[in-house]
Point group: D2
Chain length 388, copies 4
């Protein structure tokens, strides 16, 4: 069993990236419920993210989404972040909210639309230069709704052409990370529907192209930890988009629907060196807090990742390997379950206190008065959401 | 094999109800793509529905959705419909788009919100009185996103209390038809998630409460025709909400994702007397034409239902029964497949010509010039969508 | 929060029923891997079950499966059980392993086959009379593989006729509990595919007919705890068949694939009075230990149910209700998760010690020498499996 | 639209491979129902396959399964085939039915078991040398049932090592084709669970390693035609294992559960050159005729593939491309549906007559008297099944 000191050191070194859009409004196609105190601009989103980092101590990175987080002066935004102990993280592109993108973006049959989409991606790299971000995170809503609507292979050709152009534009320290998604908003084909498709493209693009695993983007029953282990073996795992789901891409708080799955995923990360800085795996959240309070939900999500990580780190890897090699099915499973069944909350409280933090991040947030302040102060203006 | 004359008579007598909201804009949580010429009010929606009926001859009913189709004068709306050969159909309630409904409507923990929701349902019955509609169609977005969020049983109690009050308010010729849905927008529990729940409530409510089968509202792999057959056996099938899907509630054009499934469903309807007027089964569409032209998509959908119906009517029921009773697995399957593999488009062209219609409804619509006219004339104003 | 004394009392009173066939060989259609020491007859199965009860203290009931457990003298079998502190539990019928049942049993198109099947069910009631069993557990493999193969409604009619005849034969203290299953071995329709179908039949049969929830018998994504809560509300939950799965009816050890789901199910049981003797809910295991050691796997499964039960009993129901009524989504979820995240193994060790048991049932079993003994002694003869 | 002469030529050139084991008994874990007249050895299986080829004219290849089809003299077996107009096709390995393989074969933790498994694969290549077979078809049941049971990455390492050794043994004209499967018989991880895993291994192995797409081996909702198109684009599609399913790996007759899906798959094959001999795609059946007559079921399956192929070939590719490039969603879909909705049975009757065959293969088989003959003659001996 890993000794507690080592586990604590690892937990203190953990880095989780929260998404700027998680602080804004979101919803379903049926309704976006607004919440009081929601940020009106990227600067206010960073202010909220700073609260999460203050309470947890492990969330210093913030992903941006372009154009939702477009600003005149990215240096000013980066400075705003730095003042709050934050660093700007991945730049997320958006090629799905313009009327031109009704039938796709980089895979659209019309070259003019493809050009527009690629130009947006190149602009995102410009923004990365300005913010110092390492990762260009690409998710494409591209696909089709009806059989015959478009040519599957032609769309792959167009996709790869676009990716190639953008990849060539990356700086030496920049990466392209490519997300896949089973379905939605496309309902027949999706152009990057599974890890295999993303992997195949990344392989051709080069070493700085890697796969993003969004935990909500799989077919029912898919064994996600297998994919994670496989990609780590291939050195092609670029990042996680954490969230959880019971059905489709529900975007619930990570760990809330299936905490055991999250543990199994993080066990593979731990076992295969994925927490090491040189593995260059980014641990991001990508969630929608449609009905629950947003900042506390992000804090809770960070805590869920921490708890699952702690359990994963507590796995007695020597005992596990022994049981596995002996073919002891029940014994090996029991080693894993022993770690999972451990209550790691006391350990995490210790970790936080040793980091100079309140042992209970949610209590710390409540005590901060921040929620009351933003509800009182953020009056008027247009609340941030998926459209702004 | 059913003789062609009988089949034709049945096809001419078919009645399909189209939804007012199918003519307006719709989309996913990522984007609603607007289309030119979309109606700005319920009267214009009826104008479009009239085009579908003119082209197909079998779509005289139009469902309304309250409040999206709220008007000052429902008698005027009914008259507008009648002048175009249409009849106002089911009234669909909406208890999911007000900020009060964030945690539910009729099953909300707060009695004030439940009161508001029930009042809306009662108002819908008032509107039924004014429009002469037979059916109150209830779909509740109610549910929860997180384990523990609310009490499952308490929500059933509240739901049943609300249904009972509304059922008691119905006139003698009015019905309550209760839709179920697997998930979305609720992502953990849904208060009416399956046919069993709807059936159990309808059984307690009384004879005028029946189940609505929306073909997109099931878990992956669910055998929908089994449910249809079971409900017809119990005389509890109230209506269909037709659409199709590859994944979740994709709301694609009925018959576009799995035409064989649609045929199997309609085979059960035919075999079990569901097309007879006394069966009182309403055949409604409920779809989202997010990226395709709306009126042509509705026409195509009506045609898809007609084609599947024609095939279902062509099943040689005597031969089928013989093979079934003999335990001839391949033989019985072959009888069904013979009907399915028949190209019924020539038969339907004949039917249309005998009804005085153009044999090709889509060509008829194109020739009508209606699309050009609405694009030219419907300029300005707020396009109808799910929110209006 | 429930005080520990109350929780302990409840845990000591818990009763779990293990299946005789769980001690025999089982496998997939690809291969049944035999294990050393497997019982050769029902008496030896009871001997193994007695070891599970000895180690855990909460597994005194054993389900039988007819004809796998057919014996000349059921009184002798019952006496054999009693001598070991066991009681014979539910009688499980088998109408799927005779060549006559290729196209079904009670729903078969041929009345002769139906008669044979019903006679078998009546024989099972005779056996119940002899063993003193309360429950006749019915699972039917009946269904079809191809569209058109048989008439869905006719099969329901035949099914209900058979159930009615058997129900009429039951003694006053006997029950019929009817299991549903999504699919397998039938691959197109299954005659009792979901809880709604079982519920509808049980409702017509009478108060002593109830639904069995097998946790592996649902469509992907189905919310099982909703069904459990609904059936408890209707007083129609008769029993659980516990096991777990990642994909289909995998029949893995209960709690091994999704321990959080098991906790949520047992939370609904606890919340809705399902653990009370008067609720008459039977807690059975129904699993296949294809590759792991069988007796230790059953012990582990019992422990998994105990741990999930302990967590469910620890839920602070007052705090939960408060948060639910206040619409505090995160707060209510947190109350539930607090119980789930508790390490209840120390509590269960205490419970066992207070019951005069070894705190670690698996260690107790290992120390007993039973495994070595049966491997040494049970040589020759035909090992028990699904076919014997 | 493709002219009929071209379509006919293509249909006459079609080659479908039937599996030797499809003529033997098969079943589910619950029961294998035996049928009269089933072959007792590989020679009799070829006799039955010859009937399928005689009736359809397009099924000259027969896959073998080792050890089920092990014979002393493969040259004699090949001669037996040749005399009947047949050719021996792919050699299928079996590393799942020996007791040693309880925890896997090529990925087993014990090197002795791995050695045994690899030796079996090498023996299969020896058999290929003897039979002249081109393809070694590999499907591994390898995986785990419980989290922690074995190390995911270590198993990949072992798998790749085994594949590499066998690949190196292949002759220049021989190929390795690697099948993936979502789950079953492993219920937690499967070592080759998806096309991405098979693809990644094949890519490293070399040009003569290709992916097998079994149409029943995917997660619910998976878009199989996307995978087919993608693999054709990469020149990595080696073969199909055709069958169909409603739920899991049901192994029903191809085209019986979702004929539209089969059409869409074959449309991608046609569109992307997959029917051309130089594409080297093998079209195999892999099915279980558990309850239906076996030879007629294979004939029907071949006909289903022919019908779907005919429809795929009838797609008006020029019109389709035009509509796709114009972004005409409904128009493009309509072009595809026009082909699908065509009744191609008359065309296939013509094709058969021009090939000198009976226009109705099933009638031809019935008229042949073969079924009566095998029922009468194949008495005694051990019927072939999955175990022999």
């Amino acid at each position: 069993m890993a000794d507690h000191a080592t586990v604590k050191t690892a937990l203190k070194a953990q880095v989780i990236e929260t998404p700027s859009w998680g602080y804004g409004n979101s919803g379903t196609r049926f309704k976006v419920f607004a919440q009081q105190g929601v940020p009106r601009d990227p600067f206010e989103k960073l202010d909220d993210a700073a609260q999460v980092h203050a309470a947890t101590g492990v969330a210093p990175f913030v992903s941006l989404h372009i154009p939702w987080d477009k600003v005149e002066d990215y240096a000013a935004l980066a400075a705003h972040a730095e003042e709050r102990g934050l660093t700007l993280g991945a730049i997320n592109s958006n090629t799905f909210q313009d009327d031109d993108y009704k039938l796709g973006s980089v895979a659209h049959p019309d070259p003019k639309v493809r050009r527009k989409a690629v130009d947006h991606l190149l602009e995102c790299v410009d923004i990365m230069d300005a913010t110092g971000s390492r990762d260009l995170k690409l998710w494409f809503a591209d696909g089709t709704n009806y059989p015959g609507q478009d040519d599957i292979v032609a769309r792959q050709d167009r996709l790869f052409e676009a990716l190639s152009e953008v990849y060539a534009r990356l700086g030496e320290d920049q990466r392209m990370i490519l997300e896949y998604k089973f379905f939605e908003p496309a309902f027949y084909t999706t152009d990057v529907p599974d890890w295999g498709t993303s992997y195949a493209h990344c392989l051709k693009l080069g070493d700085r192209a890697r796969v993003v695993v969004d935990t909500g983007h799989h077919a029912p029953g898919t064994n996600i930890e297998f994919i994670v282990a496989f990609l780590l073996r291939e050195r092609k795992l670029g990042a996680f988009d954490f969230n959880s789901r019971f059905y489709a891409d529900d975007d619930l708080m990570v760990g809330s629907a299936d905490p055991f799955q999250l543990f199994r995923i993080l066990h593979e990360v731990a076992k295969n060196g994925g927490f090491a800085p040189e593995a260059q795996v980014a641990f991001m959240l990508d969630q929608c807090h449609n009905i629950e309070a947003k900042i506390p939900a992000v804090i809770r999500s960070v805590m869920n990742v921490q708890e699952a990580t702690a359990k994963a780190l507590l796995v007695d890897t020597d005992a596990l390997r022994c049981a596995q090699q002996a073919g002891d099915v029940l014994g090996a499973n029991a080693v894993l379950m022993d770690a999972y069944n451990t209550d790691v909350r006391p350990l995490l409280r210790e970790v936080r206190e040793e980091m100079g933090l309140h042992p209970d991040p949610l209590a710390a947030y409540r005590a901060s008065g921040w929620q009351e302040r933003i509800v009182a102060e953020r009056v008027g203006g247009l609340q941030a959401g998926w459209g702004a």
